[in-house]
Symmetry: C2
Subunit: 480 residues, 2 copies
């Protein structure tokens, strides 16, 4: 038989020969029942020892691809000639049949990544990690790698981390939680996904903030929810607008620092929202985005701290307190939903990585986590002040700031630039080496006037001033 074997040069000659023969059989280049070359002939042709070929034939026999016949060499098993379809023929075929869930999925809003790598990066969602924090996390990780059990962690999370978070939440977020009601997840997005699984059926109403986070809306819609957009003003979600939606099962909010507008939900609104949820037996999904960083004073307690009728599912993230690559988050869930959440987490991924959970628990228990938060808050406050000063200096009355009381970014609003000019402004800013992000992508009801998000997390006060100077020039050019 005429046999062309392609040895790929990776690994021992024996394993190359094994792979090449297997591939030839599977691809149908050696028909079923055809004879293989004798081990002696093949060894000679390839310049390898006969023993090598013998071992390969033995392996192929054990795998069922070939069969030795007494005294008559080896033959390809008929069943092994599996397919003669050329690879690649499949790709051109019709779209696969997928589920309703798959068909409902759509792409979350992606920030304009074309302008990454610019000298002045004021984009949101970029990790700005202080060296002290990075090295503290590394040390915690190394220590945890020595101490953590190798078995499956409990689906709800390591007990030590549940207890550590209960203490942290009581001290810093005003939440008195039973550690057993704290569930460790792989980031906020998984918290949203689990809540949607447990609470929503296709067709159920779920209310979200407008403007708001794309990953939330896309998740709810993929689960089949009918997503209702509720406007946000300076006091946060317009709870009065909810009154017209008594049948909503779930309302998702970011009360500490509304994303992306930056509004802090007032106490009156918080009370009204809880009252609404209790009256309608609905649940509130509180994403405590930026709850760790309130400037000029202590952070406002979480909405969950007011939740005496167990309607709030609290989502905490480490993406801002540490950094996004960590992929840890946590939920505080009402006791009545606890077992549902643990079951759903077990079915979703059987538990989050144990070593990183242990590292976080150690970091909190040692007090270092909160000291690092305070250091970050001080750094952010200084940068925020520099940014606002620069805006006042270079924009004067031509722009206004909202959302500067907490977190890592604020919104800059232009009364005399239209939202339709966003792409133009971002491109012109990029030409001036400044990366900014527009608000349009977070709106489904297009706004009239232009607003942009400016993050002050990853730039020094001097860089922020220069970036704003350049941005003001860009806006002047755009106006004229």
């Amino acid at each position: 038989m005429d046999l062309h074997l392609i040895l790929d040069g990776s690994g021992s000659l024996q394993s190359q020969l094994l792979r090449a023969l297997r591939a030839a059989i599977v691809a149908g280049r050696m028909a079923g029942s055809s004879a293989l070359p004798s081990t002696r002939r093949l060894a000679h042709a390839l310049g390898v020892s006969r023993n090598t070929v013998l071992l390969v034939y033995e392996q192929l026999t054990a795998e069922g691809y070939i069969r030795p016949r007494q005294g008559a060499g080896s033959y390809v098993e008929p069943v092994a000639a599996l397919r003669t379809r050329p690879a690649g023929a499949v790709a051109a075929r019709a779209a696969p049949r997928v589920s309703n869930y798959a068909n409902r999925m759509s792409e979350p809003h992606a920030a304009a990544d074309a302008s990454e790598g610019l000298r002045f990066d004021l984009g949101t969602g970029v990790a700005a990690v202080a060296p002290a924090l990075a090295s503290a996390w590394r040390r915690a990780l190394i220590r945890a790698a020595d101490d953590t059990a190798f078995d499956y962690p409990p689906a709800a999370g390591l007990h030590q981390l549940q207890r550590a978070l209960a203490g942290y939440l009581a001290r810093r977020r005003g939440i008195e939680a039973d550690p057993g009601n704290i569930l460790i997840v792989t980031g906020i997005q998984q918290g949203i996904d689990l809540a949607a699984r447990i609470l929503l059926d296709p067709g159920d109403l779920a209310a979200v903030e407008e403007p708001g986070y794309g990953g939330l809306r896309h998740s709810l819609r993929a689960h089949g929810a009918d997503v209702v957009l509720v406007d946000v003003d300076a006091e946060g979600l317009r709870v009065d607008a909810l009154q017209r939606r008594p049948s909503a099962r779930l309302v998702a909010v970011t009360p500490s620092h509304q994303f992306p507008s930056g509004a802090e939900m007032s106490l009156a609104r918080r009370a009204a929202l809880l009252e609404w949820a209790e009256r309608h037996q609905a649940y509130v999904l509180e994403d405590d985005y930026d709850g760790e960083f309130r400037h000029g004073r202590r952070p406002l307690p979480a909405l969950k701290s007011l939740d005496r009728s167990e309607r709030v599912i609290y989502l905490g993230s480490l993406s801002r307190a540490l950094f996004p690559a960590v992929r840890l988050g946590y939920l505080v869930v009402p006791a009545a939903l606890r077992d549902y959440f643990i079951r759903a987490k077990r079915l979703a991924d059987r538990g989050s990585p144990a070593i990183e959970q242990r590292a976080l628990a150690d970091l909190i228990d040692s007090g270092r986590f909160e000291r690092l938060l305070l250091a970050t808050a001080r750094r952010l406050d200084e940068r925020r002040t520099a940014l606002i000063d620069a805006i006042t200096e270079f924009f004067g009355d031509n722009a206004s700031v909202t959302g500067g009381s907490a977190g890592m970014h604020l919104c800059l609003h232009f009364s005399d630039v239209y939202a339709s000019q966003e792409a133009q402004l971002i491109a012109a800013a990029a030409d001036a080496e400044v990366r900014i992000e527009g608000m349009n992508g977070y709106h489904e009801r297009p706004p009239d006037r232009l607003a942009v998000l400016l993050s002050y997390a990853q730039s020094t006060p001097q860089e922020l001033r220069e970036a704003v100077r350049r941005l003001a020039q860009v806006v002047r050019d755009l106006r004229s």
Copy 2:
């Protein structure tokens, strides 16, 4: 006013006082519009400086809980008296309204944990990590913590890891995969969940192996699938039984070492399964459980290596090659499904932890991962041989072994003990300090005769021999 403040002793006096006042207001112990004690009086009563009380009142004012009146002290905001409902009243209420998904969830089979901590642990699912592997993983993790970017990793996984796995899969599992079609997930269970989301609607037929892994069945059922049980024999899944289920959308198999029976799917069955899937445009979910460890010879290539018509979704795990606490797994998906899987992963949790991904990529690229696998395989082979020898020695013809050709466990079948005696046998074995696991929990159609799973991963040859000696005595006692 008569005010009882409970200071909890955690943190500074200032933060204790802040929390105590907030709690009193929220709990309704201070009615709306009532006056707070003057800062001077409260400072005196508590023995703290007046400045501390002033700062607390300022913070509460900023939070909206109280309002200062010019020259007349501070008053509780009416809205702040949120609830007078006593905490705990909620717990007794009716069950919450949850989704159909939530109602379909049930608990995966839990192994008998009562017998944990016994001297001879032959239970499956226990991590048995060689010191060399543990230290290699720690070193990789430490290096990765220094090198990994802090931002969100790509939802599909780090490119470096996708490339490293493509090389590993080609060398060790016979799979030629485009790195772009490899998706990093948080363990096998997440791979199952994503596949179910993308491929199954409620009411769709999905076929699974009987006996089989509970986490799979529970996931499919929670997604609303109509789960069909297909028997397994010595050659793996009875593909002929599938012919009566032409409408199944998905068939899930463990071809390398069927869990839990240990059967290795024959090449003829593999070919028949792929043919069936292509004919019915169904997908095969290949969980390559124990594919790394085949004893006495090289591992059989994965089913995916034969998949020329793109019907196989391959699931690989690190739970056996490394250990379960790592929580990393990977999928090789058909090109036509790739974007669906990436979107679903983004919606599920936005990506798996970056540092562990980086550590694994480094471990594979350095060649160390495969050397560790070989060392583990040698160790397992030695232990398996000791276990089988001991079974022959102590049981003779009274029991038979299946599933010993691969992986970390085998099945021991008793022809003259009934399956109904399982609990009795496990308890008696535990009394003899031997932990074993029965097969009943993996069957939905109860078997007639008793079979138990014996893991040889975590015991030395000497321990295995002693455990089997004790087990044989236990079985003798049970028979008489």
